[in-house]
Symmetry: C2
């Protein structure tokens, strides 16, 4: 293996991102990834154990960066409501800025079922942000006390993911980030008339 995560390592990851997003993990071939990355087929095996490993590392890499951004988006805000708004906006922003990642997270992540704790960890980390925020909101008196937190978390995450799925399917014809505040308004106030 060539020394360290070089420039070629990055090209391959990025190429893989493009091809996986376009064709899905299984239909993507090593040759296509190599071509997209501008390297020879064999070169890929200098940097990655095998095809699975490419996906694994891609997700690893993206996830790490994603959660760092999330963390500071949450930390930077005051109060539960603002923290929630920032979390959701950050989430939508990151996916809007990297559609390949959006597609791959939606369709391919669950392929790693066995391979790694990864997938569960991704959700877990996200859900932990939400727990944190919801409990804060309850302490502040801003949120209802009788919430079934396990359900609320899924409710929130599920809805964001649904919004993203639609955006992906629509081929980015509208501004995803603009959905953030209206969505949070729905979380907070519901659809019922007061």
């Amino acid at each position: 293996m060539p020394k360290e995560k070089s420039e070629k390592y990055s090209s391959i990851l990025q190429g893989a991102g493009a091809v996986f997003a376009r064709l899905g993990f299984y239909k993507a071939t090593i040759s296509q990834i190599a071509q997209e990355a501008g390297v020879a087929d064999g070169t890929i095996y200098l940097y990655f154990k095998n095809k699975d490993d490419i996906l694994y590392q891609y997700i690893q890499f993206k996830t790490t960066a994603f959660f760092e951004k999330m963390r500071s988006a949450v930390d930077v805000a005051d109060g539960a409501e603002q923290k929630l708004r920032n979390l959701i906006r950050c989430h939508l922003e990151e996916f809007q800025n990297d559609r390949n990642m959006a597609v791959i997270f939606q369709s391919e992540v669950r392929y790693l079922r066995n391979n790694a704790l990864q997938v569960k960890d991704i959700s877990k980390l996200y859900l932990d942000f939400l727990t944190e925020i919801i409990e804060l909101g309850q302490m502040e008196g801003q949120l209802r006390q009788d919430l079934f937190i396990g359900l609320v978390k899924r409710f929130v995450l599920g809805a964001v993911e649904g919004i993203i799925a639609t955006w992906v399917a629509a081929e980015r014809k509208y501004d995803l980030v603009a959905m953030a505040d209206p969505l949070v308004d729905l979380y907070l106030g519901g659809i019922q008339k007061r």
Copy 2:
């Protein structure tokens, strides 16, 4: 092709459902499906054009039945709120009763991307139920007038799917249907204190 959708046709679909759910479409092999269905490999090709076609027909079949149930769940109820509750309960019930279907819909459906309008149609049909219900609720004065319906629909569907995804991942250790009413309460009233 043997005459009509015989008994063997059903065994194969069911076997495929089990294997696809367990291993995913790509890792599933024809031999495994044949074994699960209790037929020879070659027999499968008397009933299905190819492997893709098995998945296609599986989804076709399940979707049709699913939407018939949905339709009557909605029709049987009075008023927007009850219709919504029935819709969500029915959705959760059907998936709880057929976990293979739940898994396959979650992970494999989007594989058919090119193959068919199918996928879009599935969502489309569901979203039409929701439009219908929301507009009714607004007429009744039960729901807010200022809703961005496109967003609300995705919000509702996304959240249900998220709940189901969690349940699937948890290996059915709790009652999914019990989530229906608390979830609808969240849709209606939100998480904010009044």
